[in-house]
């Protein structure tokens, strides 16, 4: 039942497509490859030019940014800010910014840049260097400023910060008469004490699905064991004995059942739900959990408290999260952009922003503010967490770096490779990625 003629027709289709391709190759021969004309840094930036600007950030889940923009626009009718709301997904936000950077589009004047994108955006010339006489970072969290810095130059103005917290069941710990743990060993012994009386409860949970959250959890384990993904000189040190010990702790946790098996599929929400339904005693998560777990419909409302995350031999080291404001070098009206950013970051506005949007501020002093601490009982602990926090690896190819980290950690957690071997492989990969 062969059909040579029909076959021939499909061949013809292929040939037709092929012919198109050939013309393509010819016609494009004369087009010069995108010539380099970026003058992102180094050249003089016009900080006096004012006029309407566009501010782009991810989904405004609090819904309060619009009011903020209106407030500014009322006071500055000639320098109106248009808010361009992007997707909630960090990957999609990054893709939007990259597209505009690649095409040298100045559509977005000010961008809300995730801390891990700074290196990539700055190195590609998609961020304007911010001079210290126009942008004052005095009193800011050192880690936040560091994460917005690339090659000793500030490329973005930290706007919000984020750090990990250890949520725990205060009711159960109180009943057992123990204090929240400072080390992994303490946490284990508390669990050994409490869990026998709690059916279906495991000890600890975090975010171990293969995504950015795993990178955060892995980096925390490594840093908390005294290791580092990248050393101070920016060279990979991820197969050091300390780093291996960090990963080993996570792997052992899965093996011993300290971490429930299903946690390998957990992101933030899954782990929060597990904590709220009494499946785990300790939860590593971001500050957003507090309000939800304390809400009226939560089963654990009033039974929880927070502590800094534990480490191997002492307090743990959190991974730093957060965003900063960056200015596109291709956009007009950088003067207005500067004014808008500095206005958004006044102490008063940061305070209000924490109150209305529950975003952690970047001004260190606010963490000890009595009024705010009353409203946000976790604030002091969070401040402590962020003060000790370390940024994730600064890399131009951050997308590749984080994927390589996830590959190695995930394989080890699933028992497909031994921690030492996984991290040796990761070390080799990182050496070629971070050069």
């Amino acid at each position: 039942m062969t059909q040579p003629r029909t076959m021939r027709r499909v061949l013809a289709a292929a040939v037709a497509a092929g012919a198109l391709l050939i013309t393509a190759a010819c016609s494009s021969g004369g087009t010069p490859a995108g010539s380099a004309s970026a003058s992102a840094s180094g050249s003089a930036t016009d900080w006096d030019e004012t006029g309407p600007i566009v501010y782009a950030q991810g989904k405004d889940t609090s819904g309060n940014l619009k009011d903020k923009v209106d407030e500014w626009n009322k006071a500055n009718p000639n320098e109106k800010v248009t808010f361009r709301e992007l997707s909630d997904s960090a990957d999609e936000q990054r893709a939007e910014f990259i597209k505009r950077g690649q095409s040298k589009s100045g559509e977005f004047t000010v961008m809300s840049v995730d801390v891990v994108w700074t290196a990539e955006f700055a190195a590609n010339g998609w961020l304007t260097e911010l001079p210290s006489d126009k942008f004052d970072t005095t009193g800011y969290l050192a880690a936040a400023v560091d994460s917005a810095t690339y090659f000793n130059k500030l490329y973005a103005m930290p706007s919000t910060s984020d750090g990990a917290l250890l949520y725990y069941r205060k009711d159960l710990l109180d009943k057992a008469g123990v204090q929240p743990p400072k080390t992994w060993a303490e946490m284990q012994s508390i669990c050994d004490k409490i869990l026998p009386d709690q059916s279906g409860m495991s000890c600890y949970g975090g975010q171990f699905q293969k995504y950015e959250g795993l990178t955060c959890n892995f980096a925390e384990a490594v840093n908390s064991a005294g290791g580092a993904v990248l050393g101070d000189d920016g060279k990979p040190t991820v197969n050091s004995a300390e780093a291996v010990a960090g990963l080993q702790w996570m792997v052992d946790g899965f093996k011993s059942g300290m971490i429930p098996k299903e946690a390998i599929t957990w992101k933030e929400e899954e782990s929060r739900t597990a904590f709220q339904s009494g499946k785990i005693l300790f939860l590593r998560n971001w500050p957003y959990v507090w309000n939800l777990a304390s809400a009226k419909d939560s089963k654990v409302a009033g039974k929880i408290a927070v502590a800094p995350i534990p480490g191997k031999d002492g307090p743990g080291v959190s991974t730093l999260g957060g965003h900063s404001y960056g200015i596109s070098p291709f956009a007009k009206n950088k003067g207005t952009a500067m004014k808008w950013i500095n206005w958004m970051l006044t102490e008063d506005n940061q305070k209000k922003w924490l109150q209305t949007a529950s975003s952690a501020p970047v001004l260190e002093s606010l963490y000890s503010d009595a009024e705010l601490n009353k409203q946000f009982p976790y604030l002091a602990t969070l401040g402590e967490s962020i003060k000790n926090a370390k940024p994730r690896p600064k890399a131009v190819k951050y997308g590749d770096v984080t994927l390589a980290i996830q590959d190695a950690a995930y394989a080890a957690l699933q028992g497909q490779s031994e921690p030492q071997a996984a991290l040796d492989g990761l070390q080799t990969k990182l050496q070629s990625l971070v050069s």
Partner: protein, 356 residues
């Protein structure tokens, strides 16, 4: 020969009044072709150009700035799979990422299409036999087809949650959404669910064109049910089924929404060539991304070609073209006296079956 001439004469008879309508045809076709040139042709050219370039990646050690512009790299984006593999852990061992995605794509295509076809044909047989409830079944069967893939991806994502209803029903905790072999099955189940009914529907239509007398005659001759199925049903629905399977195959090879919406990116067990190209594009490697999508396209063309050659899928189904080609062949055969006989014989068989 016998079957050829009727086909030709039939065609001649078919269009006696439209001969010499080339300019009218050009007028009617050109709007479509212009649109296709703009929305497909030109983007393809741009992609091809992209695929032989690579964005510069070097970082200046003093300023930290990335070198701008692109470099012409020839076919390097295509040959890196052999010369400079990016090794990743997946279902197929430690192999190059593109190769892994390629194998996943192939694996998904084979498993999904086989399951869909078997299930779809079974559904069609049931529906054809049913006296009651046909309308209801047909309504039910269109439900999966009408649900947008991305909605179905989210829906199955919820069903396959670690604490989801699927695990509740089967009574054990399978971590469907973790990056492992089980996630491949999550994808396969969701894809088969959505498309098996579609194949069933097309097969049913094929079944309904078979006259009942044929079966009655077979029964009289003492054919068993299985014999009836293999000797009558399958050959009769084959043309419709093969085309349906071909289009399903090509569609599965491009699979994007389901792994992207349900499991996510960068999961090597479910990474297809489409999602890999998307990820590479997002990582600013436009050259490799374009190269991968071209590889996928060539692969698809190759598979379509195989289908036509091995299974005789009559994709175009145009009688006139068949007739023209048959005529050309006969002319060639006449010119070349020797060695043309087997070719001619083949031709006769095909047009015979295609005419049916």
């Amino acid at each position: 020969m016998v079957a050829d001439s009727p086909a030709t004469t039939k065609n001649k008879k078919k269009n006696p009044l439209s001969d010499g309508q080339g300019s009218l045809a050009a007028l009617l076709i050109s709007p479509t072709m212009v649109v296709i040139l703009f929305v497909v042709g030109i983007p393809i050219l741009m992609s091809i150009r992209e695929s032989v370039f690579r964005k510069n990646e070097g970082v200046d050690p003093n300023t930290g700035m990335v070198a701008q512009g692109e470099t012409f790299v020839g076919l390097q984006n295509f040959t890196d799979i052999f010369n400079n593999p990016t090794v990743v852990p997946g279902n197929w061992g430690q192999i190059d990422r593109l190769l892994n995605a390629f194998l996943n794509t192939t694996w998904f295509t084979v498993v999904c299409v086989v399951l869909e076809t078997v299930l779809g044909v079974a559904m069609a047989l049931i529906m054809a036999k049913a006296f009651k409830g046909q309308g209801l079944v047909r309504a039910a069967i269109l439900v999966p087809w009408a649900i947008p893939t991305i909605v179905s991806a989210k829906m199955w994502g919820l069903i396959f949650d670690a604490d989801g209803v699927m695990n509740k029903i089967i009574g054990q905790q399978i971590l469907w959404l973790a990056d492992g072999p089980q996630s491949q099955w999550a994808i396969i189940i969701a894809d088969v669910w959505k498309t098996a009914p579609f194949i069933g529907l097309l097969t049913l239509a094929g079944l309904q064109t078979i006259p009942a007398e044929v079966y009655e005659a077979a029964k009289v001759d003492g054919a068993s049910a299985w014999q009836q199925f293999t000797r009558i049903t399958l050959p009769m629905v084959k043309p419709a089924l093969v085309v349906a399977v071909l289009f399903r195959t090509l569609d599965t090879m491009r699979m994007f929404d389901l792994p992207a919406g349900m499991i996510g990116f960068g999961k090597y067990y479910v990474e297809t060539v489409s999602t890999l190209a998307y990820v590479e594009n997002n990582n600013l490697r436009y050259g490799p991304a374009a190269a991968y999508s071209i590889i996928l396209f060539l692969y698809i063309v190759f598979v379509a070609f195989l289908f036509v050659k091995l299974l005789g899928a009559d994709v175009v189904g145009d009688e006139e073209l068949k007739a023209i080609q048959a005529q050309r062949k006969r002319q060639k055969a006449a010119a070349k006296a020797a060695g043309s006989k087997p070719q001619l014989a083949k031709t006769t068989v095909t047009s015979g079956s295609a005419a049916s």
